[in-house]
């Protein structure tokens, strides 16, 4: 019986675990906390699928074309075809396991549309689709736990993969309770660790998605892809604890963006793009907000209070609760913020990386979204990728395991040494400096000069990080994860510098045009401290 190790228990990790179990494989599902605390629960919007309830004229082909176009033609067409073709079955599966999708008074499924969609095809569960999918999958995982096919392990943090001769055989974890490194061997390792939020400090997402696992695997030989493509959401609200997403629905309901100039409101989007200016794409609005160089506000206060209560209750509550703002009386101060990472571990269509036995699913894998992600496609890709990885692991001929005893002993000694030493440098402080650098130099509008300053900063942090032995005031994980996170940041800056064009979510003011020669995914690899960027013009990862 094959043994599969899955790291991360959000939607993609759980879906992969369930499918593995259905196929008779034994799964270890490992994460620091329970699935209810994964970032998946925060996905509000919905999940795209062309089902029996589709709008007239819509088709799977149309969903495919919207997805490819939204991704500025960098995503592989075969992968996207697989994703969109599977969507109907995914919705039916989710219904069968008890996901409570929103329906009308006649029990007909309700659909909505996000930017870039030709038709309404987004299925949703009120304002918390991700949470409801998680709740349903948790029950299904529990079924296979009871049957002995899935074992959940918590309070374990990924440390490194067990890789020998290009073959992955499991991973090392830091066990918080025992405070030591423990190996877990498996026939296949599936990463489901989410995005890279912590590179940018506080974002709209979970603070637990920090990119360390991707950074560490990169240092161990895994190729990364499209790291420069980071989706910024134009309207987020700063609060003392994080940036809160202010839904596109506000602009959909007529919300107007403006800044103040000499006591006058300047509706800059409408002035430049006409009456529909506030409904332009996320990237464009984000860039225009940055270009104002001012404090920008989103105004919906002209809307009737009752209409706000019925159509925008979540936005009303977030503003009132976290900032004391009554949106029926005053405008919302907004600014763009990091929202989703299109880049991550480079995977083939079967979700295997360039390392045999090492797979990636969900947001930490880069495959379906190209240069930008369509709203409603992230939950779909999380579900689909988990299934695809499981099915490919099942059909794969797996080789013998290598001996990792010496590697494990060396890493255990190295960590023990780190935990036993004191350092004058605070690991948290370096993380904070990194997020300042990334927000400044890897932001919405990039230039060679700015990116080069970012590279310089991160190289300095890396040199400091090497001198850090242990910051005893924070967890062991915060300490040992620093190097991997910094290396990932450096890789992202390097990719952004290499792509000398503007495409999708990557905008270079020094190279504003989209160029045919760059119509290929960015691949970056690591070899003993050196990073090499190539463009996948042969479509190696699209087979």
């Amino acid at each position: 019986m094959k043994k599969v190790l899955i790291i991360g228990n959000g939607i993609s990790g759980m879906m992969c675990a369930i499918r593995c179990a259905e196929l008779g494989m034994k799964v270890k599902l490992i994460a620091p906390g329970p699935s209810e605390q994964s970032q998946s629960v925060m996905a509000a919007g919905g999940i795209n699928a062309v089902t029996e309830s589709h709008e007239e004229g819509d088709s799977v082909q149309c969903h495919i074309e919207d997805t490819l176009k939204g991704g500025a033609y960098l995503a592989g067409s075969n992968a996207v075809k697989g994703l969109c073709s599977d969507a109907k079955e995914i919705i039916h599966y989710l219904e069968r396991i008890g996901t409570v999708f929103s329906v009308d008074e006649h029990d007909r499924v309700l659909l909505r549309a996000f930017g870039g969609q030709t038709f309404k095809r987004t299925h949703y569960c009120g304002s918390s689709t991700g949470k409801h999918i998680v709740s349903a999958l948790v029950m299904e995982v529990r079924r296979f736990e009871a049957a002995g096919f899935i074992t959940r392990i918590m309070r374990h943090h990924f440390y490194s993969a067990l890789i020998s001769d290009g073959r992955c055989c499991g991973a090392l974890f830091y066990n918080e309770d025992a405070r030591e490194l423990v190996p877990v061997y498996a026939d296949a390792l599936v990463m489901a660790t989410g995005g890279q939020n912590s590179l940018f400090g506080k974002t709209t997402g979970s603070s637990r998605c920090d990119g360390y696992a991707v950074g560490r695997l990169f240092m161990q030989g895994a190729a990364l892809k499209n790291l420069e493509f980071i989706q910024f959401h134009p309207t987020t609200l700063q609060t003392p604890q994080k940036r809160m997403l202010i839904s596109e629905a506000v602009r959909g309901e007529g919300g107007r963006l403006f800044y103040m100039d000499g006591g006058q409101k300047v509706f800059f989007m409408e002035d430049k793009y006409g009456p529909g200016g506030n409904l332009m794409t996320r990237d464009l609005i984000s860039r225009e907000i940055v270009a104002t160089g001012r404090d920008v506000f989103l105004d919906i206060s002209f809307m009737d209070r009752k209409a706000i209560d019925s159509r925008l209750p979540e936005v009303r509550d977030i503003c009132a609760k976290y900032r004391g703002i009554d949106i029926s009386k005053e405008p919302i101060p907004v600014a763009p913020s990091v929202h989703y990472f299109m880049g991550g571990l480079a995977v083939h269509n079967d979700h295997e990386t360039n390392i045999t036995g090492l797979y990636a699913v969900g947001e930490c894998a880069s495959i379906y979204h190209g240069a930008n992600r369509l709203g409603g496609n992230s939950l779909l890709s999380a579900m689909h990728s988990g299934k695809v990885a499981a099915e490919n692991i099942y059909g794969k001929d797996l080789c013998e395991h290598a001996d990792f005893d010496n590697y494990i002993l060396a890493e255990q000694e190295s960590l023990k040494k780190m935990l036993g030493a004191k350092s004058p440098f605070a690991a948290m402080h370096i993380r904070d400096m990194l997020s300042d650098t990334m927000r400044e130099h890897m932001s919405i509008v990039r230039t060679a000069e700015s990116l080069s300053k970012g590279v310089e900063d991160v190289r300095y942090y890396l040199s400091v990080a090497e001198r850090i032995h242990y910051d005893a005031s924070v967890s062991a994980y915060i300490n040992y994860s620093l190097n991997g996170i910094l290396t990932l940041a450096l890789a992202a800056l390097t990719c952004a510098d290499a792509r000398k064009e503007s495409r999708g979510a990557h905008y270079r003011s020094d190279y504003p045009a989209t160029l045919d020669e760059y119509r290929a995914a960015t691949i970056i690899s690591y070899n003993d401290g050196d990073m090499q960027v190539t463009f996948d013009r042969e479509n190696v990862y699209e087979d």
Binding site: R142, S207, A426
Partner: protein, 229 residues
Amino acid sequence: MKIRILRQKVPDSEPYWESFNYDGTTEISVAGILDRLNFGDDIINDLGEKTDRIGWEYSCLQGMCGACAMVINETPALACETFLKNLKGDEVVLRPLRKFPVVHDLIVDRSVIHETLKSTNVYIGEYNPKEKEDHEHQYAVANCLKCGLCLEVCPNYTDGKSFYGAAYANDCYLVKARNREKAGDIRRSYAEHFANSCSKALSCMEVCPMHIPTLSSMAKMNRIIHSGK
């Protein structure tokens, strides 16, 4: 303002109180305060001594994941949704949830919630609803964060060895609603681990951050118990 925290280095060490000064805005949540105290090169207590950063769990920081559940001024609540401006007095007292083993500072081990659900087979299996079920109530119940606040406040819940509390009752309802074949088994489990010992204090509903109408789940479960007899 003083922030007084019951701290504990490791699971088997003695807890101790430590206080911190805070003089910022009151338009901030307890999560925001903890973040500010931890931010910076060093963390200093109210005696001016350098100390360890405060351990607490968080993920979404907007009331959707339940990670930051703790006891705030003797009331179980989510730190990210409890605001200074709404707290009385000039001191904020934070302690870890008392019904769960402490791991470190304000971090507790809530795995018992999941273990009880697993050990009593609270899963749907084959989707096979008996009749058209209450869609709205299922939606409300599926919002459960498994944060443990309902168990912390419950007068009947102690350590999860026999009485499993509201989080359990609500998941039982979801299974009953979706698979009639399992209704009998779930009914027995629900009676043994919830209904027979619940004193209907309903404090669970008062503290639930998702406002789950547990009483309604109980009514629906009781209905099936009675009709099933």
